[in-house]
């Protein structure tokens, strides 16, 4: 094939048209292949988007559908009503979605703030300083983030019963910290490892004290990492179900428990459309949060795992 192009100068003029034609054919073939590859990529991308969004789409369609048409398989919105959302917040059947939203929000904000306050200094030390026993501390924190929730649920259930704490906010906040704090330290640690610490040194050389260097130079740089970690800790706490299902009462019920225990007007008949409406209410704030801070969340989620 390529023998034509390396032919001697004497025959070059005679062979030029052949050479040009062949190159052209090759370019065209390459373009065709590229177009084919692009089409294949596009088809697969559409498949993934549909697979990820279809169940969520079905939840939204059902949430807006009249309960009489619960099992209507029409793929687009029909018999549209807002009644399910009103029913979802109706407290007459023992569903307290409004209160559960308040509880979840309160508990998750408190847990996130506590985890950040405790975790920032700890993860700074782990990322920045070298000291004996560091591997041990890191191993302990990693181990804690992998233990099963039931391992602390069992003793706390007994302990909180004795203290008469069951059904109070601290009975959820304390075990939630056990989940949020390792996540916070782990994520912040991997963010902090990537920070340009030379700048802190430069500030020190320019006459800042350690504390000043941290406050003026490092903190503004670390703010996005802290913010991302806060979102991840908040979402993780918001989605928690195991601890809440055992340690909460009607008064402190979180949204996940409210959704799981949702009761309808008739016993043994699942009020699917109303549950889907409640599900949309619980999920939409997270989806908005995730879409706005998409890049940061992906960075935070993957920061720990892959940089090693």
């Amino acid at each position: 094939m390529s023998s034509t192009s390396v032919a001697g100068p004497a025959t070059a003029t005679a062979e030029r048209p052949v050479f040009a034609e062949e190159t052209l054919a090759r370019v065209r073939a390459r373009r065709r292949r590229a177009a084919g590859a692009a089409a294949r990529t596009a088809i697969q991308a559409v498949l993934i988007v549909v697979w990820c969004l279809l169940p969520f789409y079905w939840m939204i369609v059902t949430a807006f559908r009249d309960p009489q048409y619960t099992y209507d398989p029409t793929p687009w919105p029909t018999h549209v009503t807002l009644g399910n959302f009103a029913s979802a917040f109706d407290t007459s059947y023992g569903n307290y979605l409004g209160r559960a939203l308040g509880n979840s929000f309160f508990i998750c904000v408190v847990v996130t703030v506590i985890a950040l306050v405790l975790g920032i200094s700890g993860s700074y030390a782990l990322a920045r300083l070298d000291f004996p026993g560091k591997g041990l501390v890191m191993g302990f924190i990693l181990g804690a983030s992998m233990f099963p929730g039931v391992a602390i649920l069992t003793p706390l259930f007994g302990l909180f019963s004795q203290l008469h704490w069951s059904g109070q906010y601290q009975a959820l906040i304390i075990p939630y910290i056990a989940g949020a704090l390792p996540l916070t330290v782990y994520t912040l640690n991997s963010f902090f490892r990537e920070m340009p610490w030379e700048l802190e040194e430069a500030a020190r050389i320019d006459g800042c004290t350690s504390a000043q260097a941290f406050r003026i130079v490092i903190l503004p740089l670390a703010a996005p990492a802290v913010f991302t970690t806060a979102i991840l800790a908040f979402i993780a706490s918001w989605n928690e179900y195991l601890l809440a299902s055992v340690l909460s009462s009607d008064q402190t019920q979180t949204v996940t428990v409210a959704i799981a225990n949702f009761a309808g007007t008739t016993p043994h008949v699942e009020p699917y459309t109303i549950i889907m409406a409640a599900g949309v209410v619980v999920t939409i704030p997270l989806i908005i949060l995730v879409l706005i801070f998409q890049r940061r969340i992906v960075a935070g989620l993957t920061a720990g795992g892959v940089k090693g």
Partner: protein
């Protein structure tokens, strides 16, 4: 060129003062680190270590307090050694002061069923999530118009709370639900032995594959493009590039992702607890170890402590074997931090 002119300073003999100040510096750093870490360590000790220690102590105590039929005296639980553990592992129950094989329907009789269900879910979901996650990541790693939409869409299943996911799939899997209607089936997705297991596996795969895909994608993005260019120059096919370049270079990220997912799947609770209530088949087809612990917790807390300790040990054993066999580097590069610290 000018370096030849500049005379390198003669290395100073290590002075006593220098060594002492280095030592003092090291001690100062350790002290500062200790202060900074203290809040985290104290909090973790209170919310994690203390409960686990109590749990282990409880697991050696008896749940049964009351009037002893033989002596007629009140008996307060007390130390029973490994009895709670052997009750689970040998599926024994105490009945009238005697040890008998547990009748069907008791939590103890479901122990090995739930071990099986837990490992089944773990192996199948992690395998499916790794395969689909790899596929998604490879697509997301290509550049094309609308890639932003793809990356946003992938985050949706991840962001939905598992409790909501469970209810959503409960509705999809309903007997008159959309899945049976569209496929023309009459499957009892929450009651049949294997249908209920597959319902959990499908819902979990939907929910968690995006997380896997993002971890793998982050690993893919660390592979430099020129490696592929060089391979193409050498005439490597797409398949060869994947097997010879992508997989080996992706291995560290992949191992960590699979380890995280495995440990997470071993403690699965929310999805089967809500979607099938652990039921299906004879009544415990989708009962995971975590579900069994919560069930036992309501009546026998010391026995539940033993079971949660067993669960704990299983998870740590899997993690240990995993790290030993595949050499997962979960704590990341300590070298960089060490280097920075030296410069401090």
């Amino acid at each position: 060129m000018t370096s030849s002119v500049v005379q390198a300073p003669a290395p100073l003999p290590p002075s006593r003062a220098g060594r002492e100040s280095a030592e003092a510096n090291r001690r100062r750093i350790t002290r500062v680190a200790l202060y900074l870490l203290a809040p985290t360590i104290v909090a973790m000790a209170i919310v994690v270590a203390y409960p686990i220690v109590i749990s282990i102590i409880n697991s050696f105590q008896s749940d049964f307090s009351g009037i002893d039929p033989k002596t007629g005296l009140f008996q307060q639980g007390g130390f029973v050694g490994l009895e709670n553990y052997t009750n689970w592992l040998l599926q024994q129950c105490q009945s009238g002061g005697k040890t008998v094989s547990c009748p069907a329907g008791t939590n103890e009789s479901q122990f090995y069923d739930s071990v099986f269900a837990t490992f089944l879910f773990t192996v199948v979901t992690v395998a499916l999530e790794t395969a689909f996650g790899m596929w998604m990541a490879l697509i997301m790693n290509r550049s094309f118009r609308g890639r932003g939409i793809l990356r946003a869409a992938v985050l949706v299943p991840w962001a939905i709370p598992t409790a909501v996911t469970a209810k959503l799939w409960y509705f999809i899997f309903a007997t008159n639900g959309v899945l049976n209607t569209v496929l023309g089936l009459h499957t009892l997705w929450t009651a049949d032995l294997w249908a209920s297991r597959w319902a959990i596996i499908i819902a979990d795969t939907w929910k968690t594959t995006p997380f896997m895909a993002l971890l793998i994608l982050a690993g893919l993005q660390l592979i430099p493009e020129d490696v592929y260019e060089a391979a193409r120059m050498d005439g490597a096919s797409t398949a060869q590039q994947f097997v010879r370049i992508t997989l080996p270079l992706l291995k560290p990220a992949l191992v960590v992702a699979i380890l995280f997912r495995t440990l997470d799947a071993l403690r699965m609770y929310d999805l089967p607890a809500i979607l099938t209530q652990g039921g299906g088949g004879g009544g415990d087809a989708t009962t995971t170890l975590s579900i069994l612990v919560v069930r036992e917790l309501r009546s026998h807390i010391d026995s539940a402590s033993a079971l949660s300790t067993i669960t704990f040990i299983i998870i740590f054993a899997v993690a240990f074997i995993f790290i030993r066999l595949l050499g997962a580097n979960i704590t990341g590069s300590e070298k960089k931090a060490r280097k920075v610290a030296k410069e401090l």
